[in-house]
């Protein structure tokens, strides 16, 4: 059976560069951990950096950049939508924190 869609694949040298970039982002996250941030700010910073890492991994390691765009739009958009909808929990979490529940 022939491959249904020809896809471009960068070489290992490019993947090594991406790998080094991901390690650097992980290093930045560790540095951010020991800055004088509040819980909310630290959570937001780590979340943004984690999403950047995830996007890089998805596009390059999981090859989504080189597959048909419909694959990206079908799966990523739906997952992002679900994860965004889960953000409804934050007001109640802060409410719990403000009244000191355990």
């Amino acid at each position: 059976m022939t491959e249904m869609g020809a896809t471009h694949s960068p070489g290992m040298k490019f993947y090594v560069v991406v790998w080094i970039g991901l390690l650097c982002i992980a290093g930045v996250e560790v540095i951010m951990t020991y800055q004088e941030f509040s819980t909310r700010v630290l959570l937001a910073v780590l979340l943004i950096l984690a999403f950047i890492e995830a996007a890089i991994g998805l596009l390059y390691f999981m090859h989504m950049k080189y597959d048909r765009p419909i694959l990206l739009w079908s799966f990523v958009l739906s997952i992002v939508f679900v994860l965004l909808m889960m953000n409804q929990i934050w007001p109640d979490a802060y409410r719990m924190a403000s009244i000191g529940h355990h």
């Binding site: 059976m1 491959e3 249904m4 869609g5 694949s9 070489g11 290992m12 993947y15 090594v16 790998w19 991901l22 390690l23 992980a26 996250e29 560790v30 951010m32 951990t33 020991y34 819980t39 909310r40 630290l42 959570l43 780590l46 979340l47 950096l49 984690a50 890492e53 995830a54 991994g57 998805l58 390691f61 999981m62 090859h63 597959d67 048909r68 419909i70 694959l71 079908s74 799966f75 739906s78 997952i79 679900v82 994860l83 889960m86 953000n87 929990i89 934050w90 109640d92 979490a93 802060y94 409410r95 719990m96 924190a97 000191g100 529940h101 355990h102």
Partner: protein, 211 residues
């Protein structure tokens, strides 16, 4: 390989359209699984974050040495295993079976190192008195429940991936499986790595002990 031909009752035309995604069914199936598993991990991490933010006296028991440093090493090991997995897939796609098997072996080895480091961290915490339902500092017990369940779910995925890669390596060597199976397994392994990119900051760095 011959393709099966569907037969339909008279009057009905069989329409066979190419897949809009342009990938093999096994790869599409793996993407569907990854989508569902991503949402599962998302829900679990949101649940943890809800409790974390909503509990003012949430413990932060991880000192830089050995806990955070161990987790940093685990992150580096897992990222490197993704790189070796890329080598395995690239070699397999280019017809270099021997090279692909070496890269797969390296990936399995790195996955085992990650699992050992992870279990070592767990047993260290058990020794200190942490468990699913016990906090040795006297604070909220939900820390143990969330930490061990979230990291345990991820560790389970790592162990399943190690077994899957071993099976695929053996199958690829004996020509029972082909390069597309290596690619599909690679997708799963990259997903496991990608999940760790969220588990590491939320479960470890958000709970790092202040200096």
């Amino acid at each position: 390989m011959s393709e099966s031909v569907a037969t339909f009752p008279e009057g009905l035309e069989a329409t066979r359209e190419p897949s809009p995604y342009g990938v093999q069914s096994k790869k599409l199936t793996m993407w569907l699984f990854i989508a569902s598993d991503a949402v599962t991990f998302g829900a679990v991490l949101f649940g943890y974050s809800y409790l974390r933010v909503g509990t003012p006296d949430w413990p932060r028991p991880f000192p830089f040495f050995p806990s955070i440093l161990n987790a940093v090493v685990m992150t580096a090991v897992l990222l490197t295993s993704s790189l070796t997995m890329l080598g395995a897939v690239s070699s397999a796609k280019n017809g270099k079976k021997s090279s692909s098997l070496k890269w797969l072996t390296a990936t399995v080895f790195l996955g085992l190192i990650f699992a050992v480091l992870h279990l070592r961290e767990w047993f260290h915490m058990f020794h200190e008195g942490w468990s699913l339902s016990h906090n040795p500092t006297g604070g909220p017990v939900m820390f143990g429940a969330t930490f061990f369940s979230v990291t345990g779910l991820h560790l389970l995925h790592v162990l399943v991936g190690i077994v899957a890669m071993t099976v695929v390596a053996i199958g690829f060597q004996t020509n029972w499986l082909d390069e597309n199976h290596v690619e599909t397994t690679g997708l799963y392994w990259h997903f496991v790595d990608l999940v760790w990119m969220f588990v590491f900051p939320f479960l470890y760095r958000m709970n790092a002990a202040p200096r």
